[in-house]
């Protein structure tokens, strides 16, 4: 319980820090009015717009208003579209979650079985294949892979759509492109953990009982791998949620990443703040959950 409380408090502190940082960082980049209004607009129109958007107030006053708003669940309005930020975010959240979960599923479905097998039979052809894949995952930039996938599977073969979010088929390419980096990491981790566990006493006992490789892997190995895997999986999911800016842009995937990209280009400060805060909440929340899960799986952690 005490662990839960202190971890939660730490998370809140982290969130407040993120909020302050984002607010002041975006304001270092210049004046949004310069990009919002047409070039012909005169000084009087600029001032009127500035007032209408509340940008004429001192920074600290703007921050105070923003902070109070956030406490009440009000994330402000976009300078560009003049829609409520929360509305814009919630509209796009399902797409981002879908993409992140799709990529996550791709990682788990490929990394777990492949990593287990590779770890159980080191040096085999399968192991070398897995290592090659893991290496590729860590060195191939995901936006480049995304373009290649579009050229191969959409333009060349015509199997899958090249962009957009229109049903399950359109999820395949962006999910693979986004998950490929994580696949490498997860594959290596599963493989290494399996390799280490191979010589552990409990496995030797299980093997001595006459268990086959499949039940060995599923009943004995996997539960023991769970602890490191859960913590890495938490990190990966966070990365997938926040790191999809490029992939969403390339695949015209209507999620938060693409929205953040345009918001930054347009100097749409309130929207940049809102999205970053939202993603930070998600990341910190996920981290908290994975820490708590970790403690529950391995009670020793709470007492350290």
């Amino acid at each position: 319980m005490r662990y839960f409380v202190t971890r939660s408090l730490q998370s809140l502190l982290l969130l407040a820090g993120a909020l302050v940082l984002v607010f002041f960082l975006v304001r270092l980049t210049g004046d949004p009015v310069a990009l919002m209004l047409p070039k012909e607009a005169d000084a009087a129109q600029r001032e009127a717009f500035r007032q209408a958007m509340g940008l004429d107030q001192p920074l600290l006053v703007q921050f105070g208003r923003y902070f109070l708003g956030v406490l009440q669940g009000d994330l402000g309005r976009s300078l560009r579209s003049q829609q409520a930020n929360l509305e814009l975010i919630l509209e796009r959240l399902p797409a981002t979650l879908e993409l992140a979960l799709g990529a996550f599923a791709f990682i788990l479905l490929l990394a777990l079985p492949l990593g287990l097998m590779a770890g159980m039979y080191p040096g085999s052809l399968l192991d070398r294949l897995a290592l090659g894949l893991a290496f590729a995952g860590q060195v191939v930039p995901n936006f480049w892979l995304g373009m290649l996938l579009i050229l191969w599977f959409a333009v060349g073969l015509g199997w899958l759509p090249s962009f957009g979010r229109d049903g399950p088929a359109s999820l395949v390419l962006p999910a693979v492109a986004l998950g490929f980096g994580g696949l490498g990491q997860m594959l290596r981790l599963t493989r290494t953990a399996t390799l280490e566990a191979r010589s552990a006493d409990y496995l030797r006992t299980a093997r001595a009982k006459g268990l086959g490789p499949l039940s060995l892997a599923l009943r004995h190995l996997l539960p023991n791998l769970a602890i490191p895997l859960v913590s890495v999986a938490g990190l990966q999911l966070t990365y997938l949620l926040g790191g999809s800016v490029y992939i969403e842009t390339i695949f015209a995937w209507p999620g938060l990443g693409g929205l953040l990209n345009t918001a930054i280009q347009d100097a749409d400060f309130p929207l940049v703040q809102a999205i970053t805060l939202f993603i930070a909440c998600f990341a910190i929340g996920l981290q908290l959950i994975s820490d708590l899960l970790y403690a529950w799986l391995d009670p020793r952690i709470q007492h350290r």
Partner: protein, 498 residues
């Protein structure tokens, strides 16, 4: 029997006339707003124009033609415009179009939260004479007023806009135009043919779907797979992939935009060699613009001789772009007393335009060859344009200015009228000439003034005129009658699909 045949033919003819098929158009960014006074990017206005009508319109030849006003008259002092309105036109929601719609358009357009509020507030009074006659009153003559009406005054239904407010209206816009709004989500906007559109036989497609695809490479891929019909804002290297593809054709046209190196004679430019005319001429000769166009733009840009471009009113064909002549440049610099050259600062908006960093570096290199030592200041666009008079971006700076009205006046006013937000070159004679152009409503007289101005801006250049970009689009072979204009505008009502 004959009757049956006739009826069948008639039926087939009617079928051929009614709108059919779907047109899918890629958008390079999510449109800002579909409410015209807030549609401050080309993507947004290109979607919005399909929904509305204006009092007058600009046709493909750049002439002003009637739209919802059937005729109009201008008072001798150029301040009062009286329009006779088309009757029998209805908005998509059933409201009748009349003089009150003009009032509602004027009132809602001026709201301070609108980007283009200034294009509505320039009208001081709207006088409703009767339901089909209305007079707009300006406080001073404005040569571009009809263009402004054609570009911005998208007529709105008074009862509906009052009921839902501006934000509500922007979310579900209603007009009298060829297409009516169906839906908008994060990645697409759907419009469908207005069944009771007043222009007979239009529109030709039943449905238009705009898809937001920010990445140019993906837009090209999607037009190759047939998922979209029109992709714009492409680069020359991307359209090169499409050569030999018989399902896609490439459309290219020069954009009504000038890139230029602006000199300052205020703030950071005050007291510098730039104030000397011979120095400015020398810099025009010293920059290898043909080289920039060839090496950086693969010849897909045009050299220009001034701010008035081919196709603009009053364009002077006789003026040729300054040649690349570093020897002559050195002579001029020597004659001006700078045979040893000088040092100067220059701003460059690093993320704003295609290849702009390469252009800035190339200018720096060229000027070094004639002894002018340039210190470059790269800034992001938000920082670059955040100060009036570009206080922070050096004694000269790279910039660009487009025009959507078929004339150079907006960019001339913006860059050279004292008091304009981005004016950094003060020249009384030029300013007077520009003011005169702005107040001259007669086109022929205006054209003559433009010629006079070009000569003056050529001989005593306030800028180095760099180049005019070329726009590339990829269009599916099934699309007919698609005619984009030089300001990247398109009207889809006469487009059909096979």
């Amino acid at each position: 029997m004959r009757l049956v045949l006739l009826l069948t033919l008639l039926w087939a003819w009617a079928l051929a006339q009614s709108p059919s098929g779907q047109l899918t158009v890629a958008l390079a960014n999510d449109p800002k707003s579909l409410f015209m006074p807030r549609a401050a990017d080309r993507t947004a206005s290109n979607v919005a124009v399909q929904i509305y009508n204006t009092l007058v319109a600009v046709n493909d030849q750049g002439q002003i033609v009637p739209e919802l006003a059937t005729r109009w008259s201008i008072s001798p002092d150029g301040k009062e415009y009286t329009f006779t309105l088309r009757s029998g036109v209805r908005f998509h929601n059933g409201e009748e179009f009349n003089a009150q719609s003009v009032v509602a358009t004027w009132e809602s357009g001026q709201d301070k939260s609108n980007d283009y509020a200034g294009n509505y507030s320039l009208v001081k009074e709207v006088r409703v004479q009767n339901p089909t006659t209305v007079t707009l009153v300006l406080d001073k003559p404005n040569a571009l007023f009809l263009n402004i009406l054609a570009n911005f005054w998208a007529l709105v239904p008074p009862a509906y806009i009052k009921q839902v407010g501006l934000d509500g209206f922007a979310a579900r816009p209603v007009g009298t135009g060829p297409f009516r709004f169906v839906s908008r989500s994060a990645d697409r906007i759907v419009l469908e043919a207005n069944p009771s559109y007043w222009e007979r036989g239009l529109p030709k497609v039943q449905r238009v779907v705009f898809r937001v695809i920010p990445d140019a490479t993906t837009r090209v891929a999607a037009v190759r797979t047939g998922e979209i019909d029109i992709a714009n804002r492409l680069t020359p290297d991307l359209v090169a992939q499409l050569q030999g593809n018989n399902r896609v054709r490439v459309v290219s046209y020069p954009n009504d935009r000038v890139y230029y190196l602006a000199f300052k004679n205020v703030e950071a430019g005050k007291g510098t060699p730039l104030e000397n005319r011979q120095v400015r001429q020398a810099l025009n000769l010293a920059i290898n613009r043909p080289g920039i166009v060839k090496a950086i733009f693969n010849n897909q840009a045009r050299l220009v001789a001034g701010f008035v471009l081919p196709g603009n009113l009053g364009y002077d064909e006789g003026l040729k772009p300054y040649p690349y002549d570093p020897e002559q440049a050195k002579k001029l610099l020597a004659a001006a007393g700078f045979e040893k050259g000088f040092s100067i600062s220059m701003g460059c908006p690093t993320d704003a335009y295609v290849n702009i960093n390469e252009v800035c570096l190339s200018i720096q290199r060229d000027l070094a060859k004639v002894g002018v030592d340039v210190s470059l200041e790269f800034k992001t666009s938000t920082a670059y344009w955040s100060k009036p008079r570009y206080g922070a971006v050096g004694a000269m700076y790279v910039d660009s200015w487009s025009s959507t009205v078929g004339e150079a006046l907006p960019r001339l006013q913006g860059a050279l009228t004292p008091g304009a937000y981005y004016n950094t070159w003060e020249d009384e004679e030029l300013a007077k000439l520009i003011e005169q152009i702005g107040a001259t409503t007669d086109r022929a007289a205006r054209a003559a003034l433009y010629r006079q101005l070009q000569k003056r801006m050529y001989d005593d250049p306030p800028f180095v005129y760099l180049y005019q970009p070329v726009i590339f689009e990829a269009v599916s072979a099934r699309v007919q009658d698609y005619r984009p204009r030089s300001a990247e505008e398109y009207f889809l009502k006469s487009v059909s699909v096979r």
